[in-house]
Symmetry: C2
Subunit: 330 residues, 2 copies
């Protein structure tokens, strides 16, 4: 295991020390060691909270900041934060106008957010949630409730964060964040596994010369293990289920291509050239494209494609200013 | 070789197609297929040009943009761009006030920039150069001319780009970019190798359980191959030669920690926590820290540390606004 770590059981706490040291204008400690908050949040806006397992950097901490999230609950690698951590995140975020907890559909997160929400209610903190379910490979459209949240979460945070920043009410922030994630269809392709430091061994395997279409962010099984093919054919394999998921034809979209960690950004651009051709052929106009490492899985090789259907309500929120480690736009 | 590519011999051209498709506000094609330019450069400022081999994403294309570079010459993976490409980059950048070519100290780049500069002179385009030599592991301070350029190049582009953007003359841009890179001391540590697509095999090897201190961006041999140790000990091994290179004590610095490609950003933060402690103990004040993938080597595991000594002249240029794929600040 070729890693720059100390004790494999302490990687999360050790990394938090680095984040706090490196970016004091973005991160402040709270009463819980596994919760960081944005130190400059306005107190009179709706609070935006998220959280999830570590190992997905820049998610989730990289989305704390101006026009983005106010507090993040931090879990162990690929594990949900505790209910206590979510509760402290609700307390640490602005909460006079209520808190929007925007997170991904995983059993542990669902359970702990639910408990934290109940505890927060006893403290008169109103919390409403949006649960991202954008991974088309994890369940058919008719069973959207079973879908996992993947890189569409980034869009949800951006839209919800921008709505809160401009002073929208809790109900309105929730409506828009829900609309954002409903407008997203995502799929991943994995080319190699990754190793959780505390385990020391890959937590699943992809044979060399193969790829797994529809793989989850923690190595959850995808739709199909197939021989590794060309970027052009991979683009087709990713676009087919995404384009079949919603009626994108004739509309304007935002495209997010995220690497899973170890895939060079050059390759994401090779992939995108083919995706762009496919979108053009399908009469889909691309409003903006973001390519990079936005939601990773440690050192997994592979990529995710997220397509978000835009309208006049979502577009200005997506393009609104933000300052965070992962997204800064003026 | 687990890669998202088409023909391994065409990865650079295929990636350029993606960059052009994804970011039309940052990239425009030129008369040379291996040169991209910023489409919104003011014509009356000094042009900033760089270039180098591919495989270092986001370098070099990620540093094209507002307040950064105006044109980039693009080489094959880990190979210099041609003289023709550098010449076209000089032509494509604003050049009425002259062109500052800011690049790294590699034999191929030196040769091709020199030829391109001579050809540009015949077209009445004045080109002056700054050659980054910030890698302390590649030669002792007394032989700085032999040092390679590594992530200090990012600082050079930022400072030179900001100086040009505010209207500084060519001589002044060159002076400041030179000052920037002279103020930088960098070192890398490699934990694994990488594979050039056209070769299909790792181009060097690091045995599991080992690390190479002082490794170059193309796998050039470092100072020492040692057993892989803790993040804390790695931080010490990196800080020792960097802090010995310049008199940093009592001064203010900027810190840049770049991953080499496949190392999770979490680990860069673990590393930084120890580096920050060490800097504090050495009475060095950190003005800003940037941690992420700024200058990579395909999917190599490892990191680089760059320390830049600041003064009242460099600080505002470093903090000046910029918009590019790799650095955006408002």
């Amino acid at each position: 295991m070729q890693r720059i770590i100390n004790d494999p059981d302490n990687v999360v706490d050790d990394a938090i020390k680095g984040y706090l040291r490196a970016s004091p204008s973005l991160f402040a400690a709270t009463d819980h060691p596994r919760v960081l908050k944005y130190p400059s949040s306005a107190s009179d806006k709706v609070g935006i909270v998220t959280g999830g397992g570590s190992g997905h950097e820049p998610a989730f901490l990289g989305y704390i900041g101006e026009g983005m999230c106010d507090a993040v609950a931090i879990g162990e690698i690929f594990s949900s934060p505790t209910a206590d951590a979510f509760l402290e995140a609700f307390r640490s975020a602005p909460h006079e106008q209520g808190v929007a907890c925007l997170y991904g559909n995983y059993a542990g997160d669902n359970m702990n957010v639910k408990m934290a929400k109940q505890m927060a209610e006893m403290e008169d903190i109103e919390v409403k949630t949006v649960i991202a379910r954008d991974d088309v490979a994890s369940a058919p459209a008719a069973e959207r409730d079973k879908r996992r949240g993947v890189a569409g979460e980034v869009m949800m945070w951006k839209i919800g964060g921008a709505a809160a920043a401009r002073g929208d009410s809790l109900d309105e922030v929730i409506r828009l964040a829900q609309k954002a994630v409903d407008a997203c269809s995502s799929i991943g392709v994995g080319l190699s596994s990754c190793t959780i430091p505390a385990n020391g061994k890959p937590n699943f395997s992809i044979e060399p010369g193969h790829m797994e279409l529809g793989i989850g962010h923690h190595g959850e099984p995808g739709i199909e293990v197939a021989p590794l093919t060309s970027a052009e054919a991979i683009a087709t394999a990713m676009c087919d289920p995404v384009l079949a998921d919603q009626d994108f034809a004739g509309s304007e979209v935002a495209v997010l291509i995220s690497g899973l960690g170890a895939t060079p950004v050059m390759e994401l651009n090779i992939l995108y050239a083919h995706i762009a051709e496919r979108l053009e052929a399908a009469d889909i106009r691309v409003h903006r494209t973001d390519i990079g490492n936005y939601f990773t899985s440690l050192e997994m090789m592979g990529a995710t494609l997220t397509l978000m259907k835009l309208d006049d309500e979502l577009k200005p929120l997506l393009d609104a200013p933000a300052r965070s480690l992962a997204i800064t736009q003026c």
